[in-house]
Symmetry: D2
Subunit: 338 residues, 4 copies
């Protein structure tokens, strides 16, 4: 159920509606729109009678939401959501580039890469502090020290930072040091983590699971939003198929599919999406051309020595080319960069 | 690296080896075998020189383990592991039947179903207390009260109980009330949860992820074992493919594949593996015929009113037939039930 | 549309109905049942008015067929079809074993293998004369000479033979020399070949395509049957997925799925379904346990020298074990062998 | 094996080499390059001794080809192949747009659509005469009359035409009336048809199979080329996965993957690749951005009345927009259109 308020509805009228919602045992979610405020309702296990709200002062109409995902759907909010991450808007006219190493390996490494990508036009810095790895014996990230390095990167280069949280404990630390927390593909249906992300003070960067359908992807976002954190942006990073010429199969068609159903921004990760350095640039161009709000790419100044995912990291000079190409393609689709 | 002790090695000799391992900064994992003890080593990031151990008293030989998974591999332990869950051995000659509702809905429901499945020959009772659901608005399980109901089921019918844990908090509760903790398909690569499971006092029932390869599956088990909990048993529950005649595609060939590479027991879940009641019996027969150590099936006395997964639950009388068929097929493959 | 005749309908009454069907521009397909004859109608592009037939003498009722596949559906024929191949019934109570080499390599090779599998209880002999190979430079089969060898195998050992046809020309030759023609997975939607198979004088053994849905599979069978060849039996041979522990992922759940929708027999090919010798026996047991009407397996007396698919061929002595195990599992599901 | 001739090698020297190849029982394939001629060798079942050719006059070097596909690989021809279809070059600097209805339904329909797409900048016209359909009861195309309509379209609008052939008979007719013959996804491993295409007088447009790997795709092209028809251009049209938001999952990463391994042109079909009208434009932009040599799209002036695949056909006015966008993206990647 969605309560659409009249254009000039007063704060008191809004308050009366949210109180009525709580009184019924449900949860109100005020959703500001370009012209009017709407209030989403969650927590009901059966349809609500619109008559409960229709006659309240300031209420324009009460609408049933037909999609299984509610708060993230276009039904509830027609306009695009713009998520601010450390002052950088994601989902607006401007394309966003997130760049950095797979993992933070040392302060020297992070700074060296950050300097290059900042100069080339990166908007946010990425770098893993907590790495989910297939093997328990593989490098699992530096943890807290890496977060502190990321904070220094932000200080020195003015780049907001995004980094992955893998559980409640790391989420609390990421909240403290970073500007946005990533939830990785393997945790897309770790519902406890999603709920915790829904109570985080920072935006959440949610990556699609390796075999997630569009509906499951949006439902995972709904988990976060339903807990009260409306600052969610999505990422396509490839799905698992029989195809063996890339590490994953990048499913670019999900970008316009998400755009038509949801108001949330969606980026593309061509590094994980292909797993191969020489495919990152062409797929980045394709991602912007298809309508993505940005890309996240792994950059390393010495990929052969990277502690994880070296073969998919691009070199800093390739990132410069990438930034130029992104700006050019962005212009064609009514967007901009740089 | 695996240190194989001589047949008559003394406790002191074993202790000397484990101390040497710790002194080198690694972790020893004593693995009892039919004839001799072996000691697995984890924590090394590079190959270890066998000479470090070869000449210690009681050491027969030091062997390099070639698989990426170590402690769960047949290289480290040639014989089958038998895991005891509340006194019921899993992985031995006897086939194991785990049965019960998808979710514990009430004491009356759990007791009604438990009575039926106990009478028909179930070895363990299952029932979800914490349900990972695609939608945040779907029934998420009763939580702690459900665990208390499960404990009563055990008391009344003498059936050990297995139930899913979805995070650290629920794992602590499951540890307290249940005989084994399940980690579900969506959490198969929730590495924080796997590590926590590795410190649990009870056996872990690990289900294959929806798009997990064999190696990833065994690596997830390795995460648990490497933390010190050697009591792990696996479950094939279907993978996600294009095929739409069943909810998932049950990949029975992974049973002999796991058996040839790992000493861990593996069961099959034909309820989730097909998502359709009328496929549960034929796929159960096939699972036992292919060599599985047991099956887990969802049973509900009134599936049309089940709060989750009703279409895949079988009726108690179908479970009786299932138990009879399992006994018959088991006899053909040198196993038994009932 | 299906016209069900009354129990004692006369030949003249049947003839009158088929003539009326032809007069309307459609095609009649008489389908004998246990108790009464039914007449399927194809060729109509819109629903037919039952009134066209309801009042004709001998007509019991005119039923609309709701499935997209008509003639192969259980709606049109409730009982199981039994297809005779060289005198061997497929789809009846008795399980069928088809065995032989991937490709006929020489008369000596074919005879050596045939002698072994005949002795061990094979019902039909297989051997490729025309091999669809991924590479144009790989061995493509001996062609006509292989068919002549197959005919000699039948003569000497009394085993009917089944072999693949890959185009119209090879279909004509297979028709002349073999007892059934196989259409392989790669040609499952080669509709011209399917139509030609529908005009063949011999039964057609149709394998599921590598990424065919259940509906597409039955539709491919419908192509054959709609042309007038009602002697079709199916084969599950694994689908293509991300899983890499076997060559294909054997989808055994399609066996009961086909059985519930169609009256056609369905076999399983665990050789192609797994691609690995050590998986053939367990998956054969599983196939019979799940309800398949038989299996087709590749047997070679010297797999290391096989010109194609050596790694999946079992040895003659393994086939003996297989035949014993098939007989044992068959007994459990109300079937028999040997 | 590849024999690279010296820069100024004479015709007689080339002839001597090809004769030597034939004398050895193999087949020579002269491959003109920008600077020098190379001669591919097929038909050998084992490596050839380079010494057989090294000392022949005019021979620069004899190189072993390491890929399983030979003639289509970059090893054999480093430069891009440009295929002429009715005078339109495919694979050169200029992007190619192929447009038209799924099926030719009538002369009026074909002419109406052709007029629109010709005006908007289409380079080639497409329209199915022989339609491979899942159901034997679905519209299968007009056949020969459709080919005659296509010939009229070419005459009136000057657009070369490409249309699908599904067997030997239709290939002969397509050869007579069209400028290029398409082999569809379902026939990508119909090896008899591929060999026949290798003897066709016209270029072949080969679509990727629904579950074909990159290697299988290039091997299918090799089948055609090895028979002597070097005029082959490829098409990515989506693969089959679990994802259900589009009809197929368009795998754009295969475009740069093909480009790095093969000299053949590759186009993209976003109509079949997505199955949804509203996804065609964004995926067309992405296809050009990723490096495709063109796109093939289905256009219908009245999609709701289309006899096949209406939901994926775009309207003529959408095609105008598409052509403008293609020109803009093409310019960014050093290509052009219009």
């Amino acid at each position: 159920m969605l309560i659409v308020m009249e254009k000039g509805a007063t704060d008191d009228q809004v308050k009366a509606v949210t109180e009525r919602i709580r009184l019924l045992g449900f949860r109100p979610h005020p959703i500001p729109g370009a012209e009017r405020l709407a209030i989403g309702i969650t927590g009901n296990h059966a349809p609500i009678d619109p008559a409960e709200f229709d006659l309240l002062p300031g209420v324009q109409e009460a609408i049933r939401v037909t999609r299984p995902y509610k708060l993230v759907s276009r039904e509830v909010k027609a306009g695009d959501s713009v998520i601010e991450v450390g002052g950088v808007p994601i989902g607006g006219r401007r394309i966003v580039l997130i760049a950095g190493p797979c993992a933070v390996e040392s302060e020297a490494q992070a700074m060296a890469i950050a300097e290059k990508v900042a100069a080339a036009g990166a908007d946010l810095f990425r770098g893993g502090a907590f790495k989910p790895r297939t093997s328990p014996y593989a490098f699992q990230g530096l943890g807290l020290p890496a977060l502190k390095i990321l904070a220094k990167v932000r200080e020195r280069f003015g780049l907001p930072v995004v980094t992955e949280a893998v559980d409640e404990e790391s989420m609390a630390q990421v909240e403290e040091y970073a500007d946005a927390a990533q939830i990785g593909a393997r945790n897309m249906q770790n519902f406890s983590l999603l709920k915790r992300a829904g109570r985080a003070r920072i935006p959440i960067f949610l990556k699609r699971g390796m075999s997630a359908t569009l509906e499951e992807f949006l439902m995972a976002a709904e988990y976060i939003v339903s807990e009260g954190n409306y600052k969610v942006f999505l990422c396509e990073r490839g799905v698992r198929t029989f195809a063996d010429h890339t590490r994953n199969t990048l499913d670019l068609a999900i970008v316009p599919a998400v755009k038509s159903l949801s108001h949330l921004p969606i980026l593309v990760d061509p590094s994980h999406g292909t797993g191969r350095r020489d495919k990152v640039l062409p797929l980045t161009r394709a991602a912007i051309a298809v309508g993505a709000d940005g890309v996240m790419v792994e950059v390393h100044h010495d990929p052969s020595k990277a502690l994880s995912d070296g073969p998919q990291a691009i070199l800093p000079e390739m990132f410069e080319t990438l930034a130029r190409e992104v700006a050019a393609v962005a212009a064609l689709v009514g967007r901009s960069h740089g």
